[in-house]
């Protein structure tokens, strides 16, 4: 995103571009007899054509080039968005997923015609099993939240198979919103467990919350504060003693590769966000992939299909007591190809280096910022840390949102803000291992400069950003007067 030019045609829609008779792609001439549509479809024939754009190829090219110029991506600049692991997306993955033998496969092709794809999936399953310490893997879930739902459904099926009806799932107060939302979709009730003063699970509160009706606990470790829970073995032991299972939200896997595995911490099921840890692009919101790895005792409940090796042949198979299916087909294969390419390219030793550097970089940034910003938990962090802007709000009326917006003027994408909920005015910073020391130092300088501005010129922050294509947007108006789709009769809102 460029910050030094004016932006043309802001808000101009593709519907408002091109002559009414313009077109880009025309279908080939019909080489077979054309049946009468009315005869074929009867009542189902469309009367009004859909109001789609009418543009030439050059207009499409320019429209989207203009829109691309309004976006900030990892290729634009530093993106320390906590909990999202915005690392560089290696280009070999982009090339790989477009190979004809991957991109142009039909999901129901006979197994003998897709041995390469199935082998890739099988090897990815094995790699994820090794990294998670849990042997059975499904690649089907399309995202982290989808993996959570899959994992919890598997846990539910496991309990039910034992005639053990349970109804509650424990979720720490620092959890991602997806955890409680997943619990509800799974038909369970949420019981929130508080954090202790070191940022981990409050073990006494956990003991009090556990009971024979608890199906599972959902945890991330390191947790959303970027802290590794030192009591994790006791936590999973207590959970198992109560007959419950432990689910690991693998959102923070980038911190621990080569050091510790969820299975060895006592977890029974885990999802791994390939778009975080394994460098597949976030795509402006997706697609990602959230494979789930489980203990042997849960393997038979995994959704259909998994890839198995039968002699020297790879085939899809349905686990014996599969919960069903979580989506059509076998998974977001294009994302799986990218993740496989990443793991294979970086290698086992490289993955260990990735986690170690991610942790070093986060601690470095924290060390250099902790006299300017409050860091509520005084201990070394893992791959991310949470700072608080509460002092600026109290003393200068500057909110964390203002700090975030001001960062945009420094050419940096802001950290995650107002999460986790247990830290007031939270700023959650995750630098990732793919950033140079020069970039990290520039970020620290920007953050320190903003801290000074907050004291000396708080209004400057409250009005930020100044250099972006648009200024702060009227989000209240967007809710109160919903404008969610262009209609042929409408005109765009006029510039004031």
């Amino acid at each position: 995103m460029s910050t030094d030019r004016t932006y043309r045609d802001l808000g101009r829609l593709i519907f408002e571009t091109g002559a009414p008779e313009s077109a880009c792609v025309t279908p080939p001439a019909l080489d077979v007899p054309e049946p009468d549509l009315q005869t074929v479809l009867g009542d189902a024939v469309r009367r009004e054509p859909p109001a789609l754009p009418h543009v030439t190829e050059v207009e499409i090219a320019r429209h989207y080039e203009r829109l691309a110029g309004l976006n900030f991506g990892v290729d634009t600049g530093f993106y320390p968005l906590g909990s999202c692991t915005m690392k560089y997306n290696p280009r070999i993955g982009e090339r790989a997923c477009r190979l004809d033998g991957f991109a142009n496969l039909h999901p129901y092709q006979p197994a003998e015609s897709v041995q390469g794809a199935l082998r890739l999936m099988h090897e990815l399953q094995e790699a994820l099993a090794e990294l998670s310490g849990l042997p059975a893997v499904t690649l089907q879930p399309a995202a982290g939240a989808h993996g959570e739902l899959t994992g919890l459904m598997v846990i539910r099926a496991y309990h039910e198979s034992r005639g053990d009806a349970r109804r509650r799932v424990l979720v720490p107060d620092s959890a991602h919103g997806t955890n409680p939302a997943t619990v509800a979709m799974c038909g369970y009730e949420v019981t929130q467990v508080p954090s202790d003063e070191r940022g981990g699970v409050d073990v006494e509160a956990l003991k009090a919350a556990l009971g024979p009706d608890v199906a599972a606990i959902m945890l991330t470790n390191p947790n959303t504060l970027g802290l590794f829970d030192e009591n994790i073995l006791e936590v999973t032991r207590l959970v198992h003693e109560a007959g419950a299972l432990a689910y690991y939200d693998g959102a923070n896997m980038n911190a621990i590769m080569g050091k510790v595995r969820p299975g060895d911490m006592g977890f029974d099921a885990v999802h791994i966000n390939l778009h975080k840890t394994f460098g597949t692009p976030h795509g402006g919101g997706g697609p990602g992939a959230g494979p789930v790895c489980v203990r042997e005792s849960l393997a038979e409940f995994l959704p259909d299909p998994v890839v198995v090796k039968d002699g020297d042949r790879y085939v899809f198979a349905r686990p014996a007591r599969a919960i069903g299916r979580m989506r059509s087909f076998a998974g977001n294969f294009g994302v799986l190809v990218r993740a496989y390419a990443y793991i294979r390219g970086v290698g086992g030793d490289g993955l260990a280096e990735v986690s170690e550097q991610a942790v070093v970089s986060a601690n470095y940034v924290m060390a250099r910022l902790k006299d300017a910003y409050d860091v509520p938990y005084e201990r070394s962090c893992m791959h991310e840390f949470v700072a608080s802007g509460a002092r600026f709000r109290k003393e200068h009326g500057v909110r964390t949102l203002d700090i975030a917006k001001r960062l945009l003027d420094y050419g940096v994408h802001p950290p995650t803000v107002y999460f986790p909920l247990i830290v007031d005015e939270a700023l959650m910073i995750e630098p990732t291992e793919t950033e140079s020391l020069e970039t990290l130092d520039a970020f620290v300088d920007a953050m320190r400069a903003i801290a000074e501005e907050a004291e000396q010129d708080p209004d400057r922050l409250r009005g930020a950003p100044y250099t972006t294509p648009v200024r702060r947007l009227d989000e209240a108006r967007a809710v109160k007067e919903p404008d969610l789709a262009w209609r042929p009769t409408e005109t765009a809102p006029r510039e004031a």
Binding site: Y418, E475, A476, A478, V479, K480
Partner: protein, 128 residues
């Protein structure tokens, strides 16, 4: 900020009793904490309000809060103006931004246990 003729609860609702009809809304403090109100989800006339229980929801752009009734009784009126102009809750929390009217069974005891304006101010001073 906190009219002395109203009574207040710990969930930041106010109530004004007029005969046996209690008018209910949220306080200045509550609307300030929420920020710009963009949506208020209210019950229907004829529904039952129960003291201490939720009767609706109020939303800002990035938060949702439940609305709790300070009194029990039948809901006899809801403020339809909030559907088109939820900002009234910010602009006029004690007048135009009221939410529901409830017919209470016993007007003499309906407000027992609620706070006076002074007590409420002390309460929010402790909360901040």
């Amino acid at each position: 900020m906190y009219p002395s003729d109203l009574k207040y609860d710990r969930e930041h609702e106010w109530v004004r009793l007029d005969g046996d009809v209690a008018t209910i809304g949220i306080t200045h403090y509550a609307q300030d904490q929420l920020g710009e109100v963009v949506y208020v989800d209210l019950p229907s006339v004829g529904d039952e309000a129960v003291a201490g229980e939720s009767f609706g929801e109020i939303e800002s752009v990035k938060s949702v809060s439940e609305l709790f009734s300070p009194v029990s009784g039948e809901i006899v009126e809801v403020n339809g103006a909030l559907a088109g102009a939820p900002e009234l809750v910010n602009e006029s929390p004690y007048e135009d931004g009221w939410m529901i009217k409830v017919r209470v069974a016993d007007a003499a005891t309906a407000l027992d246990g609620l706070m006076t304006a002074d007590e409420y101010e002390a309460f929010i001073a402790g909360e901040a």
